[in-house]
Symmetry: none
Subunit: 226 residues, 2 copies
DNA sequence: ACCTTCTTGTTAAAAAACGTTAAATCGCGA
DNA sequence: TCGCGATTTAACGTTTTTTAACAAGAAGGT
């Protein structure tokens, strides 16, 4: 179980790191917000993020916002210096699942982590195989199958389809998809994505119950109506 | 899913409000017992009430009693200042479903809300198909059908029609519709909505028994007279 | 009833977003 | 380096949404 730990205080960082490691978590400790964001982008299957609010370069709130853009599911816990009401409000608006004020005991933090993970567990496990309509899509193999037909996808096609498959029947924001697949959302990447949307639609044509709908001004939605 | 929130502490009120809103609930925050009771009376389909015990004008217990008079079903959770045994006992007598002592984590409250809602409502499957008059409307497919005709709706058209379809024969406030479809209710969005109302009316013309009536100064109402 | 003010209806034009196709460029293995 | 598939850029077409302007309707005061 991977835990992202963003804490600039060397001392507290080490303590948390050691404690959570001892409890069986695989922790990744980052010393500032930017480092944490970079780590988040390149780390798969993070179970939870524990973010200090006060950090150099990028504070916990900015960090949380960026992370939410990339992943609307991953739970986050804030570490706040005092019981600052504004802090907790700001944090909760960003979709934090909990917050804990310093000083706190390790047990307390652990309990909250466990409580949150217990709940977020039943949310579908990260697969690499998806089905929608009459299709089977294997992300690892980059293979989209229908009846006995199969199409080999390129890496961008595969990444993009994975994003939609993971959010089936939910609209995925353009910027979110762009950040997940292209890393950032520039104008040209956006146009590039439009081209790829067209490609995916072509692949999905054989089953009319599966469609990529566009939500104008917002994003796209892979719907399965079968 | 509507949640009535009765909490006089401005700060905690906002935190709860924001958190639950972020989690997808439609919260209505009231600052005292009387306001909460008034709100309860005029609000339809409340899923659950979260009541602070200590409040001005009317405390949580009185409020609970009044609410029970009006609705013997609606679940209630009490927020108590301390782990006061008498409080919890008194509350439970009034038909409370749960109580939680301050301070508590958001996570904890959410879990309890979910637990109660899970058992009080076998989670009705969310429809995406509606019928009114001779029409069939499928929100997911964005398809409005009449006889053998069918119209493909744009995303805004689809969203707006869904809002009306979900409140058939009830008037929907302008601001409510605006917030649901456009995200906020600015002047320009309001004018935009008027344009869309016209579009929907055009689509609905084939069946004169189905109409979008305007409730001047308030909103619109989709009526089905057949 | 008449006037005023505010709200809503209607239509057209402007602007923004998205779709499609093809050409240009990139990157990598032969 | 060449070739080739993958990806990006460009150009142009289409659709959706917003904005504007004006007409019509409703509400309230005199």
């Amino acid at each position: 179980m991977k835990v992202l730990l963003a804490e600039d205080d060397q001392n507290l960082g080490m303590i948390l790191n050691d404690y959570l490691t001892a409890k069986g978590y695989e922790t990744i400790l980052c010393r500032d917000g930017e480092e944490a964001l970079a780590t988040f982008k390149k780390t798969d299957k993070l179970a939870i993020c524990i973010l200090d609010v006060m950090m150099p370069k990028m504070d916990g709130f900015e960090l949380a916002e960026e992370i939410r853009q990339l992943d609307s599911e991953v739970p986050m816990i804030f570490l706040t210096a005092k019981s600052m009401k504004e802090d907790t409000i700001a944090g909760l608006k960003l979709g934090a699942d909990d917050y804990i004020t310093k000083p706190f005991s390790m047990e307390e933090l652990l309990l909250r982590i466990q409580a949150i993970l217990r709940r977020s567990q039943p949310s579908e496990p990260k697969r690499s195989q998806y089905t929608f309509g009459k299709f089977t899509y294997d992300y690892e193999k980059r293979l989209l199958q229908y009846d006995s037909q199969e199409v080999k996808l390129t890496s961008k096609e595969a990444e993009l389809l994975k994003v939609f498959a993971q959010h089936i029947n939910q609209t995925v924001d353009r910027t979110k998809a762009l950040k997940l697949v292209w890393g950032d959302d520039s104008y040209f990447n956006a146009r590039s994505m439009d081209v790829y949307i067209a490609k995916l639609r072509k692949y999905l044509k054989p089953d009319e119950n599966v469609q990529i709908l566009t939500v104008h001004g917002q994003g796209f939605k892979l719907v399965d109506l079968s």
